[in-house]
């Protein structure tokens, strides 16, 4: 009787652990990727939006 109940408990518990873990956590992976890319490209401060275009000289002064 005891063995039977133990068996049932394991049958219920073990697949619960396994099924959660075999699937690739796509959303978590995207979150992790975003975090790492932001750090590698230093996108957090928004400074990357600025493009370093060559400064055009100011309009020639009247001469």
């Amino acid at each position: 009787m005891k063995n039977w109940m133990l068996g049932l408990a394991f049958v219920c518990v073990i697949p619960a652990c396994v099924t959660i873990n075999i699937y690739f956590p796509a959303a978590a992976a995207e979150k992790a990727a975003d975090k790492i890319i932001d750090e590698v490209w230093q996108l957090k401060n928004g400074a990357e939006k600025h493009t370093d275009k060559q400064q055009e000289p100011a309009a020639p002064s009247a001469q």
Binding site: L6, A9, V13, I20, A29, E30, A32, I37, D38, V40
Partner: protein, 138 residues
């Protein structure tokens, strides 16, 4: 007897919930991952101008490649090839380390393809990115 069973069930639920919590976030704070990240961050200051000039582009498999060597002065081409090679080595190592750090080395390919999409999404305008149809400029 019922108490034992109930206890086991409770234990099972607790263990199960820990797995759920672990699955909510991927572990990316190991020393190995941090080291790769720092190395890539330092290299990016050198790679930045090459992305902008179209000399290199982001591939659909989460790596980078020399796309237009002619956009680079001859004298710099050797250095660029080395940078691209080092960057790709770091990227491959990064994908592998994330998979290993989370106890699933078999996730490496999926992590790589997730990164591929995110690199391209976050690329600055003017950079060249590769998709199923070929190269496009953002």
């Amino acid at each position: 007897m019922k108490k034992i069973l109930l206890g086991l069930m409770l234990l099972g639920t607790l263990i199960g919930s820990q797995f759920v919590a672990a699955a909510a976030d991927l572990e990316v704070n190991t020393p190995a991952i941090t080291a790769i990240k720092n190395s890539m961050q330092a290299r990016h200051t050198q790679l930045g101008p090459f992305y902008s000039s179209g000399a290199i582009g982001l591939t659909k498999d989460g790596l980078i490649t020399v796309k237009d060597a002619n956009a680079v002065p001859l004298a710099q081409r050797g250095a660029l090839t080395g940078l691209v090679k080092d960057e790709n080595a770091d990227r491959s190592k990064l994908y592998k380390e994330i998979a290993v750090a989370n106890g699933h080395p078999e996730w490496q390919a999926e992590i790589q393809s997730t990164f591929a999409g995110r690199w391209i999404d976050k690329a600055q305008s003017g950079w060249w990115v590769q998709d199923a149809g070929g190269w496009t400029q953002k």
